[in-house]
């Protein structure tokens, strides 16, 4: 199963932390720090896999992707396939991009509850739920629509980029 999803920027500041097995906040910070320490020490042109037993316990591995100013990190155990996880990161990023139109770090910072919604449509309870970004997007839009109609006031954040037409 997938143990955790971590999104952080290249300075190690967490942008999204999701642990599918409960970790107390202090532990979350510690884990994020150690993951960052490992990732920042890796050169550019190497594999996207790291064995993470030192950080997350025996048998765990992590796959990461470095995109612009962000690291996307998936932590998982031996029941998953590394290459497949790498593609799952791709799915997440693609979906974010479709959602925010040219996603950047700022979108994620400001809309991190939306990002949680997206992630919940891709991974559920540590298992892969959906791998088609179109369908994820559709589900998220459905949620937005129903949320809107459920309350008179709009709670759904529009993307930064949409507003400013970057």
């Amino acid at each position: 199963m997938i143990r955790a999803v971590i999104v952080m920027n290249t300075q190690g500041k967490p942008r999204l932390l999701k642990f599918y097995e409960f970790q107390p906040p202090e532990k979350q910070q510690e884990l994020t720090r150690s993951v960052f320490a490992v990732l920042s020490g890796r050169p550019d042109n190497v594999s996207n896999f790291v064995e993470a037993d030192a950080i997350f316990g025996p048998g765990t591995r992590l796959v990461y992707k470095h995109l612009a100013t962000l690291y996307f990190v998936f932590v998982f155990d031996s029941c998953e396939n590394e290459l497949a996880m790498l593609d799952l990161i791709q799915v997440l990023v693609e979906t974010l991009d479709r959602c925010f139109k040219n996603v950047c770090e700022l979108d994620i910072v400001f809309n991190f509850n939306k990002m949680h919604t997206i992630l919940d449509e891709i991974i559920f309870g540590g298992q892969v739920l959906e791998t088609s970004s179109e369908r994820v997007l559709k589900a998220v839009e459905e949620i937005s629509r129903l949320e809107k109609s459920a309350s008179s006031v709009s709670f759904v954040p529009k993307s930064v980029s949409g507003r400013f037409g970057r």
């Binding site: 199963m1 300075q11 409960f22 906040p25 202090e26 979350q28 910070q29 050169p43 550019d44 042109n45 190497v46 594999s47 996207n48 896999f49 064995e51 030192a54 995109l67 612009a68 100013t69 962000l70 029941c79 396939n81 590394e82 290459l83 497949a84 790498l86 593609d87 799915v91 990023v93 693609e94 040219n102 996603v103 950047c104 700022l106 910072v109 400001f110 809309n111 991190f112 509850n113 919604t117 559920f124 309870g125 540590g126 298992q127 892969v128 739920l129 791998t131 088609s132 369908r135 129903l146 949320e147 459920a150 309350s151 006031v153 709009s154 709670f155 954040p157 529009k158 930064v160 400013f164």
Partner: protein, 969 residues
């Protein structure tokens, strides 16, 4: 960051909080983004948290405000600040009816609370209600909370609702319900054991997504007990066939692959079901062959499926044709330029050699390449592979490589692992004693405190007993070489404590044995040890005992012992030590020096560490004492078995464990407390077993048993009678000798030692542990199935004895050349490597300008590469400009979409282009060395590799491509 700040500022000026999040949240994020230091950031958030704490508790907070507060709290906690005061408000928010609020509430509680948190009890009711809601979004939100928050005790409360949802009209809900049940299974398999049939039923769900979700719990169930699901093999194969034949709706395609994630899960399941089952495997051969044929090598996900197929083929009952296909796919992985694929290739190779060790031969050079790769992950994976293929012919090369790597890493976790692997391999395959001791020394020197204590004791035993040869000469030679090497090593300024213990013990036993060194010299050295920086009490105890032994041998020989001043000061220091153990030893030594030679010889016989000590288990010598005590009115001892109303210790313990493991609310009353049997033991007036706390050299023990009224054996025997073997084991392990303990002791410890070695043979070593190591080596071929296969190839195959000879003759120069050539091998000087590095290091961003079609995944990968050959030099200057100026606009998508043509990361494709560009050189290259195709395109490269090959211990012989036979053959 800069950019973030500017945009943040723009936003603050322009938007006035008109969108989704409140202006305050925006301000918070902005000010955090502008914080110059961690301290400043912390101050900002603390201030924020304080204000939230105040405002959240105000009465009548508007609902929308509350939602905003909760989100800010989640944010604060993500940055590592305590938000626990808000948990209750998040819980309250889940009770709201409005969907946005409810969802926010659920999001917050799943992030905030653990499954055992006290507040969960307040949510269970809401979850129950929401699971029955008409709005499927509410149901989904509740299911998400179920996955995270429901623990073993609360499962029964929501289980019926979740099971009902399996028949929900929306497939998204069915899918999530299956996954929630899976989660229940993970939490407590017993709670859903009656629902297994539901999983089977969902396998036939009309929606492929639900079917796919069902595979996850089934995978878990099958890995726990495969035999009950053999009947599903045909269904799984059928599903896989349909998926592979693209019978699923197009929407399940991912990058031109038909439902790859479902394929991967199915392959994993088939691997489990087919393992060791010829009949089940028979059903799979066809479909696996199909998948190999249809495999899509150009996309990342296609390779993922391919890799999973290799795993499956190597796990099920072997089929020659499939294995061939798997080997072919593996070699494609290994030859790939992408590090990811190489990594998968090394892993796949590790699986294939278990079935056919010859597979590795072809990929020797690729594997050596991976070993020298700058990528740490790849390197470690390769070491894992080498570890799997070690045998006596290549153990030296491999272990030396491992140690070399071990010295250079700082990651303690991995250091421990690799050190223990070195030890394990050395223990199993050591060609000579000297090599073994030297290897151990290296391991201890560099990873000393990380290795298991057991290893140190094994080493001591080995030096004391030799490898079981009867040849006294060889044994004493071994010892003196050990003493020599230790005296040399002692010059090092910093040595790990465990290693110092070994050194002290060996010097004490054998330092003066061959007469090469004087007693005073050795004692001086030992005193130096105690003054070393990192010397702890244990080492001091070892050192002073060693000094005592040397003095004893001197006195027994009739020589006068000159007390060195530093030794005297050591004794003085220790006799006032805080540690009573050290004090005792110091006083013993002092007393000892006054004894006459005959007494000394009895107390401390020369070279007695291997002698067996007779144990009087019935404690007959205590009879008088017991008799006397009883006469004086003491209560007689009642054997444990005869004591009424008291189950024995182990029973009690297991019962307790059972209770702990079931971890449920107990409804029946607790039993009456029992008197703990442990209290009865000291009845025989046994003094506390001090000796167990700190390891005591055996000979001192000897002296104690005779001097100090035989205390240890009393403790031993009495505790053994009670089944408390805890510290017995400790004693034994320390000495690795079944000296004084119950007869069951030795066999149990030795067997555990064996299993840690990964070897599972049982031999009755307890009687003659002297031969143990030796014997285990002799019995190597019948050790485990895996090793058996390796061994078979070793003795039966091409790797004959001649080869072994060849390697051994080349061993001598190897050590020197390696060190000499080391700097040359670091690949930093040669021009083509710099090029190699430059191309792949280009960051993802550079792909911005590349005319790479965003959705042309159908394009033939090779054509794509061809197209790239020309333009490659063009983008690179462009890239640099992008890198410098373009950084201002970090656009994730540029990278994302260029990654889309799944031929892999940009680095990979560029790398391969370079390979193509140089392919012209290849032809000229073939003249110089025959197997050049495997050696890579560059002549220098291949030359260097040849040099490496020689270093590693084999000479490439003309046309024979079997380089590194000793390593890989």
């Amino acid at each position: 960051m800069e950019q973030l700040k500017t945009i943040g500022r723009e936003l603050a000026i322009g938007s006035h909080g008109g969108w989704g999040q409140s202006k305050e949240f925006l301000d918070l994020v902005k000010s955090i983004g502008e914080a110059r230091s961690k301290a400043e950031e912390d101050r900002i958030i603390l201030r924020e948290v304080e204000s939230l704490r105040r405002r959240i508790a105000e009465p009548d907070v508007p609902r929308r405000k509350m939602k905003d507060y909760i989100i800010r709290l989640v944010y604060a906690e993500m940055l590592g600040h305590d938000a626990s005061f808000g948990y209750i408000h998040a819980v309250k928010m889940t009770h709201h009816d409005a969907l946005p609020l409810k969802r926010t509430g659920y999001l917050a509680v799943t992030l905030f609370l653990s499954e055992d948190h006290d507040l969960i009890i307040l949510i269970v009711n809401t979850i129950q209600k929401d699971l029955r809601s008409d709005n499927y979004l509410v149901v989904c939100a509740a299911l998400a909370a179920v996955c995270k928050l429901i623990n073993e005790e609360t499962i029964p409360a929501v289980l019926p609702q979740v099971v009902d949802l399996l028949a929900h009209p929306k497939e998204a809900v069915r899918k999530k319900a299956v996954m929630a049940l899976h989660r229940f299974y993970q939490r407590s398999p017993a709670s859903v054991s009656h629902l297994v049939s539901n999983f089977r039923k969902r396998l036939c769900d009309s929606d492929p997504g639900v079917m796919g979700a069902t595979l996850c719990p089934l995978f878990d169930l099958i890995s726990a007990d495969g035999n009950s699901y053999k009947d599903l093999v045909i269904s799984f194969v059928g599903i896989l066939k349909q998926v592979a034949e693209r019978r699923l709706p197009k929407t399940y395609d991912y990058h031109q692959m038909a439902a790859p994630f479902i394929q991967i899960k199915l392959l994993k399941i088939l691997a489990l079901l087919g393992s060791g089952d010829k009949q089940a495997s028979g059903h799979m051969y066809n479909v696996l062959g199909d998948i190999f044929r249809k495999s899509e090598q150009s996309s990342n996900i296609g390779n993922a499926v391919l890799y999973e197929t290799i795993c499956c083929v190597s796990s099920i009952y072997p089929n020659a044709k499939l294995l061939e296909a798997a080997a072919e796919a593996t070699s494609k992985f290994l030859k790939s330029d992408s590090h990811n694929l190489k990594y998968m290739g090394v892993d796949a190779l590790g699986r294939l050699i278990r079935i056919n060790p010859d597979t590795a031969e072809e990929h020797q050079l690729a594997v050596i390449d991976c070993l020298e790769d700058p990528d740490d992950t790849l390197k470690r994976k390769t070491f894992e592979l080498l570890y799997k293929m070690t045998k006596s012919t290549n153990v030296e090369v491999i272990v030396n490589r491992m140690i070399e790597y071990m010295i250079n890493i700082s990651d303690n976790h991995y250091k421990t692992e690799i050190a223990s692997r070195c030890v394990e391999l050395a223990e199993q395959f050591a060609p000579t004693n000297e090599w073994f001791i030297q290897t151990m020394n290296k391991v201890f020197e560099h990873a000393g405190d990380l290795v298991n204590v057991r290893v140190a004791h094994n080493l001591m035993r080995l030096i004391a007993e030799g490898f079981g040869e009867d040849d006294e000469g060889a044994e004493s030679q071994l010892r003196s070489s050990a003493v020599d090497s230790y005296l040399r090593i002692l010059r090092e300024p910093k040595l790990p404590s465990l290693f110092l213990q070994v050194i002290c013990w060996v010097l004490g036993e054998y330092g003066t044995a061959d007469g090469k060194y004087s007693a005073a010299y050795i004692i001086g050295k030992l005193c130096d040890v105690t003054e070393a920086l990192l010397c702890d009490d244990t080492v001091k105890a070892y050192a002073i005992s060693a000094i005592m032994k040397i003095c004893a041998f001197e006195i027994a020989e009739g020589r006068k012992v000159e007390m060195l001043p530093e030794c005297q000061s050591l004794i003085d220091e220790l006799s006032t030590s805080h540690s009573t153990d050290l004090q005792q030893r110091a006083y013993e030594l002092q007393a000892f020096l006054c004894l006459e030679s005959q007494a000394v010889e009895r107390v401390m016989p020369l070279d007695a560490s291997c002698e067996d000590i007779e144990i009087d288990k019935n404690l007959t010598f205590l009879k008088d004492f017991v008799q006397q005590s009883i006469e004086n009115g003491a209560r007689p001892y009642i054997p444990e078995s005869e004591r009424s109303g008291m189950s024995n210790v182990s029973n009690f313990k297991s019962q307790y464990q059972h209770e702990a493991s079931s971890h449920m609310l107990r409804f029946e009353a607790y039993e009456l407390p029992r008197p703990s049997p442990a209290h009865v033991i000291p009845q025989v007036s046994v003094p506390t077993p001090i000796a167990d706390l700190v390891p005591v050299p055996e000979t001192t023990y000897n002296s104690k048993t005779s001097q100090a009224s035989k205390l240890p054996s009393v403790t031993d025997a009495s505790s053994a009678a009670h089944g408390l073997k805890l510290h017995l084991d400790g004693v034994q392990r320390r000495w690795g000798r079944p000296t004084y303990s119950s007869s069951s002791g030795p066999s149990s410890t030795t067997s555990t030692e064996k299993t840690t070695n990964g070897v599972t043979h049982i031999d009755g070593v307890s009687s003659q542990p002297r031969d143990k190591l030796n014997e285990s080596r002799r019995q190597q071929p019948e050790v485990s199935a895996e090793k058996q296969k390796l061994a078979a190839s070793l003795f039966g195959g091409s790797a004959g004895k001649t080869e072994k000879k060849a390697t051994s003759t080349q061993r001598a120069p190897k050590g020197n050349t390696r060190n000499a050539e080391r700097p040359g091998a670091t690949r930093s000087v040669s021009p083509e490597t710099s090029k190699e590095k430059a191309a792949p290091s280009v960051p993802d961003l550079l792909d911005l300008g590349e005319p790479n079609p965003t959705s042309t995944t159908i394009v033939d990968p090779f054509k794509q590469l061809e197209g790239l050959v020309g333009p490659t030099p063009v983008p690179s200057p462009l890239d640099n400009s992008v890198k410098t100026s373009g950084l201002e606009t970090p656009d994730l998508m540029a990278a994302v979409y260029t990654d889309l043509p799944p031929s892999g990361s940009s680095s990979g494709s560029l790398g391969s282009t370079i390979g193509d560009m140089y392919s012209a050189d290849k032809t000229s290259n073939t003249a110089t060395s025959a197997p050049s195709i495997k050696k890579g395109p560059f002549p220098q490269d291949s030359l260097r590799k040849d040099a490496r090959a020689r270093q590693v211990g084999v000479t490439p012989t003309g046309n024979n491509p079997n380089l590194f036979k000793d390593l890989l053959g």
